[in-house]
């Protein structure tokens, strides 16, 4: 019985400390988005290692509006094996931006996007090479 309670206690402590770590990561990422950035949304991503190299695995939709400058900031937790990357597709499935340059291998920690076409966009996140990782993507508006 004791072991049962201890196991539950350890499990709950683990869950709570993980939650706190994620919250801390989100807070830090929001604060580091820039003094000119105003927080809009965040996406908390936790992925295991991918079985194959396919499309970016974490998908979410978001409306983006014309005449607005958005900033997408990516932050990784320290235990991530890969780096968080993002690409965004429009309603025709066309990639409008990517934080990962496939030709040079360069990864950008943030992207400013000057939106001129209002609509619902698909945000796709993953970690480089389909590695395991956890991180957060922050969407802010820039004045």
């Amino acid at each position: 019985m004791k072991i049962y309670f201890i196991s539950i206690f350890i499990l709950m402590s683990g869950i709570l400390s993980y939650g706190q770590a994620v919250d801390q990561l989100v807070n830090n990422c929001v604060m580091n988005a820039g003094t000119d950035a105003k927080y809009l949304k965040d996406f908390r991503i936790e992925l295991g290692k991918a079985s194959g190299k396919n499309e970016l695995r974490y998908k979410a939709n978001m409306s983006l509006w014309k005449n607005t400058k958005y900033r997408f900031s990516m932050c990784n937790s320290s235990d991530s094996k890969g780096e968080l990357i993002l690409n965004i597709k429009d309603n025709t499935n066309k990639v409008v931006l990517s934080s990962f340059n496939q030709k040079t291998g360069k990864i950008y920690p943030f992207i400013d996007f000057i939106c001129n076409k209002s609509g619902i966009y698909q945000l796709n996140f993953d970690f480089t090479d389909g590695q395991q990782g956890s991180g957060v993507g922050i969407v802010s508006m820039i004045r």
Binding site: V26, N27, V30, M31, A33, A37, K38, Y39, L40, K41, D42, A60, N61, M62, S63, W65, K66, N67, T68, D90, T92, V96, L97, S99, Y108, P109, F110, I111, D112, F113, I114, C115, N116, K117, S118, G119, I120, M141, R143
Partner: protein
Amino acid sequence: MKRKIFLLSLFICLCFSCRNSSKKSSGFVFPEADAVPISEAEKLSPEAIADISKNISSPVEIANLLQTLEIPFSQSYLASSIDANKQNTNVDKALKLGILGADLGYLNMYERTGSSLDVLSSIRKLSEDLKVDQFFDFESIKRLSKNKSNLDSLLFISIDSYSQIDNYLRTNDRGHLSALMIIGVWLEGQYLATQVASQFPDKSLCDRIGEQKIILNDLLLLVSPYCNRDSEFTVLCKDLQEFKEKYRDVKITYTQGDPVSVEKNGGLVITQTETSVVEMSKEQLTDIIEITKSIRNSLIIK
């Protein structure tokens, strides 16, 4: 001679094929059916519903647009008549929670901390009644409201609280209340935009109002499973259908182009050259302003 005819035919074909590849792509239209069938909406996965709830534009974005246009703050746009103590049903409470959330975003953006504390106390009462107050860190929000230098933290903590409530309600079989809250947020943002547009009809603001056509169908999808739940929902669904009617002939078209990117300060700056173009007559805008005012006011005076 044959060769000349062949070349002439080829030239004509090329001319027509160039015309077909016009830079203007097809515009945004509502799906064929006038109303989203309930059975279709019921099939929506929890992920799809979560996506829809994230699609709805934030009132903070509307407030940001107003600030960019140097529109002065006005207390008259707020739903000050809402008395949190006089809301009888959970439907009323969830809708008002959404409406006041949008007002809070507007107040925060304009740094009107005195008024935001009043709104906050109403939000507290409604969220306690709906048993979702655990997601609001009221003390932190109050503290940040008083400290104007922490606007970003204030926006984060306020928006995040609403996101957590939305998520909690959806995952605890209270999706109908989540839908109402989201509709409340959207409706108040729409009211704010239309009221300002009626006084300052700036092109970019009018365009933003016209562009709401893009997410109106999502709002209908969100609420459709509950349209027959009770009379309050039936009225709300009817109201949203009226909105849809007013938007039916607003046209949104797109021009094509490739994004332009440059590196700056270690990041990437991407300018989209594709554009969306809104075609909306003055009459259509007036109708939308009127229907928004009518529906929003009928809800807040309850």
